[in-house]
């Protein structure tokens, strides 16, 4: 049974974002604000960078504001002028990515003005943006979200996120389903998924943690990963990507949302997060950490798998 999810706070959130953006831009305390604006199609939204206080009215927040805007602050995205402090609208999941980027020397907290969004959830897909947020259309990440209210922002509208219905945790269930399979069955599952991949690299391009200026997988001396979108190269690409994000991924699930081939990419990231939690008690959070779980060690780490 689909349940409607209460997004009534988004009107207040939108107003608050507009007000705060107007204030910080007119004060000159930030040079730009990265946020969301409405687009042509009914109900749609797209990322926007505003530099004038007068444009603040363009900013919105709705269930279609799916993007993780943190990607615009990384080095891979050279197009946002990064002179001076930048304001950015963040959901809880986006903030975790920003925090991760700070830990990886990509961003400095003092160069950011964080506008936190109390979030009731966003849509899983914006193929049809004019869709009501329900237990059927809500993004899988929101189903298991524990960070509806971002912590440590410079400004957070004083609205309380509504109590959302308890929803089935799709990732956890799907991971459990796959784990219960035999290796051959899992291989068959992923083979069919990865086969669809066309190497459009949307997953990489939207990922805040894929900030490498030259991706390993774009290199040809040596060619570590076959660039051709064939099953073999696709498999390698997604394994390497998941490995590179292990212990870093903040769980925004943008890779999965943007995949035009519907490959459940975030399952890989969630699986790695689950393992790293079990092995090293690591979880992405709101606190900046100097070292991720795969950049450190403990002499007593589990080695039961080593003969």
């Amino acid at each position: 049974m689909t349940q409607l999810i209460d997004t009534s706070i988004y009107t207040a959130v939108t107003e608050a974002i507009q007000g705060e953006a107007r204030r910080i831009l007119s004060e000159g305390s930030v040079s730009a604000v990265v946020g969301y604006a409405a687009a042509r199609r009914k109900g749609s939204a797209q990322p926007v960078v505003i530099t004038q206080a007068d444009d603040s009215g363009k900013l919105i927040f709705s269930a279609a504001c799916v993007n993780n805007l943190a990607v615009y602050l990384t080095k891979a995205k050279k197009d946002i002028p990064k002179n001076g402090k930048i304001g950015i609208v963040v959901k809880g999941c986006d903030l975790k990515a920003l925090v991760g980027l700070m830990g990886e020397s990509q961003l400095k907290r003092e160069e950011l003005y964080l506008i936190g969004v109390p979030c009731a959830g966003v849509l899983a897909s914006t193929i049809l943006p004019d869709t009501a947020l329900t237990s059927g259309t809500i993004a899988s990440k929101c189903r298991e979200c524990g960070e509806r209210l971002p912590q440590g922002c410079d400004y957070t509208p004083t609205v309380t996120p509504p109590i959302t219905p308890v929803l089935e945790k799709k990732y956890a269930a799907e991971i459990a389903r796959l784990e219960a399979m035999t290796p051959a069955e899992r291989w068959a599952y992923w083979k069919e998924q990865f086969k669809k991949c066309i190497k459009c690299y949307a997953c990489r391009q939207v990922c805040p943690f894929c900030f490498c200026e030259q991706c390993l997988c774009d290199r040809n001396k040596p060619q570590m990963v076959e660039t051709t979108p064939r099953p073999a190269g696709n498999f390698a690409w997604h394994i390497v990507r998941a490995m590179h994000l292990a212990g870093r991924c903040a769980g925004c699930a943008e890779c999965e949302r943007v995949c035009p081939m519907d490959i459940p990419l975030n399952l890989l990231n969630r699986k790695m997060a689950k393992e790293l939690k079990e092995l090293y008690n690591h979880e992405a959070g709101f606190e900046v950490r100097e070292k991720g779980p795969l950049a450190m060690y403990d002499e007593k780490d589990d080695q039961s798998f080593i003969k």
């Binding site: 399979m181 069955e185 291989w187 498999f235 699986k271």
Partner: protein, 166 residues
Amino acid sequence: MHTEKEKHTFEPKIIAFVCTWCTYAGADLAGTSRMQYPANVRVLKFPCTGRIDPVFILKAFQQGADGVLVSGCHPGDCHYIAGNFHARRRFAAFRKLLEFVGVDLGRLQFSWVSAAEGGKWVEMVTGLTEQVRGMGPMQEFKELALEEQWSGSIDTPELQEAYDQI
């Protein structure tokens, strides 16, 4: 004295990634001690297990390896202080990933073999070779390499289901 060697129909290809200070030296010791083990293994020497990139393991499988062995210094013995500790975490995570995408972990073995453990090296290589021989060839990556994207396969489970309904 030569014992009659058993002939096998399948000789697995085993690729070993080892560190130079411990396991490579251990394998040397197995040699100087004239221990015997299956000739299926090909050894790639690294300065340290810390240098071994998970991509190499993936490459080895793509290149037709039926089994991969990664071996280095025991914890605390690392010539480079902590390379093997970093490697331990990296591989703990990577094997979970490989397992999740459907690689049978029976084909991927990790071990600590010191420069003094010629016998253990023999045990590791023999064990993995026999285990993989029992599992048969690693078909998955080989089949993958032969598949073309554009041709599409005409027997996906999903299609099969659709066909079955008519």
